[in-house]
């Protein structure tokens, strides 16, 4: 089981797009080490012969009738947008400035 370092936590922070500050990364590192220690025990029983379970209540794929439904209007879809223009979401520039990594 890993022991997290502050650098690893900062790197994870970038991967999940959370701009952690230094103090926070340090605290999170400690918490995550406590938790990872506590959850280590699952290795003891998770042997090769045990099948994994994703959904506890297995269901067959269900097909619905092919009936048209009404989706959101454009207005409804952008109603919660932090920034919108001409019925579209406004996003900041996509390229450039990767120095945060």
């Amino acid at each position: 089981m890993p022991t997290f370092t502050k650098d690893q936590v900062q790197h994870l922070g970038w991967l999940v797009r959370i701009a952690l500050n230094d103090e926070e990364a340090d605290k999170l590192k400690d918490d995550m080490n406590v938790i990872s220690e506590a959850i280590n025990s699952i290795q003891e029983v998770a042997t090769q012969d045990v099948e994994p379970t994703a959904n506890p209540i297995p269901l067959e794929a269900h097909l619905r009738e092919d009936v048209p439904a009404t989706p959101f209007t454009q207005e409804e879809a952008i109603a919660g947008a932090p920034e919108a223009d001409s019925g579209m979401f406004v996003a900041p520039q996509i390229l450039g400035g990767e120095e945060s990594e």
Partner: protein, 551 residues
């Protein structure tokens, strides 16, 4: 007709009694809703159970019910009985925040399936209740806005994540509420507040419109003061929904019938298994004592009780703390400042890109517990570690399901305490995450196995409620309602005439006060919420984009 009931008398009725009085024309839905609004106004300064109150909307529904009933229309059983909704479930036109800064001010453009069902049953919606941010926590202290207090002792937490719904129902602010339960978020607050909380079979109630936390574990369920009330709400919200791919294509088990059956207090022939691993060390004496007494009561009503083992139960908590954060990290990726919710642009000296915007938005928008789980989950799902962590946890899940299957070959239902302790003081468990996580040690196994489970009050210990948990096989939710209702009746018989509960004091105050207007009620806690967000966001770098800047 007898003299009109005052606010306190009205709100202290059970939901079933309210429904009867509405049908008999002894009370109007408007009177009932107004009484609850008055209690909310009296209690909220101390309890903070609600994130938003929708009094105007609730009264509108109430008036519709009264009008249609007066016109002689046949209405659904719970028509006119008000309900509160955990703010983890989306409500069209009513702000939905998941108690997170990242969703402050978000007005959903659609209703969750369960909310559509409440509306179809003409149940007035009183408002949205507080929770730990994105339902992550066991005390409601991780709300980004304010903690909720326990009506039995306001220095104590109400449990979590659904502390708002549990407190509101316990303090008579609402007769019924909806919760969500991923690892115990309905049942542990039930235990802490002396209310009934039910986690139905996974897939028994549609999750469409429940904000996703850990999708293979999340389940919506009822919160009530009596077992029958929980059953009535369970039947309203349950059933197949094609918009949820995990929804079971079968009707809801007859839980109301089972609850009524249980009230007869005859459990002869019922086989009850006491789970060996969910007791003893780590459980407070008062909890163990009350639990043993409850088991004796089950025996006295004819139940055959034996001890049953779930050998892998001790691995449930660690497996949960791998599976849940993994699913959280994936589900919460959608909060990126692009289409709804908070957007924080990076400070001027940082490139103004989308990627940086997301990083500054999520840094400012999420609280520490949520960040902890996203990071841990991302690690558990990363290449090279997936099999070791996530894969292993999924195997433990198989072992736990097998344990339950074997147990249910011997007994009809399994029982344990719902929580190892009574409610703790605010702030007491905030420093160490593992201490907080241990709150859910008795409730998590049912989530991993997808089976139905509920908590109901089993008496006080040191002046605080304790909770009794009943678990049943998957898709047999009705099987736990019968012993639950029987036990509730046995406790009532034993207690005899109950003196006033401390949780009733705000209802009694409300009965002395003048009616609160709906406009006043709709403002409850709104200023505190805005202040909490403004203060918190100031501590983070970046520039908040507000809607006023729309082009």
């Amino acid at each position: 007709m007898s003299e009109r009931m005052n606010d306190a008398q009205l709100v202290k009725l059970t939901a079933a009694q309210m429904a009867e009085k509405l049908q008999a024309g002894e009370v109007t839905s408007r009177e009932l809703v107004q009484a609850h609004i008055n209690v909310i106004a009296a209690a909220e300064p101390e309890l903070k159970a609600f994130l938003s109150v929708s009094a105007t909307e609730a009264l509108k529904t109430a008036d519709e019910v009264d009008r249609r009933r007066a016109a002689g229309e046949e209405l659904p059983e719970l028509a006119g009985v008000p309900v509160a909704i955990k703010d983890m479930i989306v409500t069209k036109g009513i702000e939905t925040t998941a108690a997170s800064r990242i969703l402050q001010g978000w007005i959903p453009p659609y209703d969750a399936t369960v909310v559509e069902k409440l509306k179809a049953n003409l149940m007035p919606i009183l408002g949205k209740t507080n929770l730990d941010e994105f339902a992550q926590g066991s005390s409601t202290e991780h709300s980004a806005y304010f903690p909720t207090h326990n009506p039995w002792d306001t220095e104590c937490v109400p449990g979590g994540s659904g502390g708002g719904s549990a407190s509101a129902v316990a303090a008579y602010e609402a007769p019924l509420a909806l919760g969500t339960d991923t690892g115990g978020s309905i049942r542990q607050p039930g235990a802490f507040t002396g209310t009934v909380g039910v986690k139905p079979t996974y897939g028994g109630v549609s999750r469409f419109g429940a904000i996703a936390m850990a999708s293979s574990l999340d389940q919506i369920g009822p919160v009530a003061r009596t077992v029958l009330d929980a059953a009535l709400l369970h039947e309203v919200i349950g059933g197949y929904d094609e918009r949820d791919s995990t929804s079971i294509p079968e009707p809801t088990p007859a839980v109301v019938k089972a609850a009524r059956e249980g009230q007869k207090m005859d459990l002869s022939g019922l086989k009850v298994g006491v789970v060996k691993e969910l007791s003893g060390k780590g459980y407070e004496d008062v909890v163990s004592h009350n639990f043993e007494h409850a088991v004796e009561l089950l025996k006295s009503m004819g139940a055959q009780v034996s001890e049953v083992s779930l050998p892998n139960a001790s691995y449930a908590l660690p497996a949960y703390y791998v599976l849940m954060p993994s699913e959280v990290s994936s589900n919460l990726a959608r909060y990126d400042g692009m289409r709804y919710g908070l957007r924080m642009m990076p400070p001027a000296d940082v490139a103004q890109t989308s990627a940086n915007m997301m990083a500054y938005t999520r840094e400012a928008g999420f609280g520490s517990e949520v960040k902890r789980r996203i990071l841990l989950g991302t690690y558990a799902l990363s290449a090279g570690f997936y099999d070791k962590w996530y894969g292993s946890a999924q195997k433990v899940r198989t072992l736990i399901i097998r344990d339950f299957e074997k147990a249910f070959e011997k007994v009809d239902v399994l029982v344990s305490p719902a929580s190892p302790t009574t409610a703790f003081k605010l702030g007491e468990e905030l420093t160490d995450p593992m201490t907080m996580y241990l709150n859910d040690v008795a409730t998590i196994p049912a989530n991993l196995a997808g089976i139905p489970a509920m908590s109901l009050p089993m008496g006080l210990g040191n002046g605080l409620p304790t909770g009794f948990q009943i678990m049943a096989p998957a898709k047999h939710d009705d099987m736990m309602y019968k012993p639950a209702a029987a036990l509730e009746a046995a406790f009532a018989k034993e207690a005899g005439e109950v003196s006033e509960l401390p949780t009733g004091k705000w209802a009694d105050q409300a009965a002395q006060n003048a009616d609160v207007t709906s406009a006043e009620a709709d403002k409850i806690n709104q200023a505190e919420k805005a202040e909490a967000v403004d203060a918190a966001l100031k501590a983070f770098p970046g520039v908040r984009v507000t809607k006023a800047e729309e082009k």
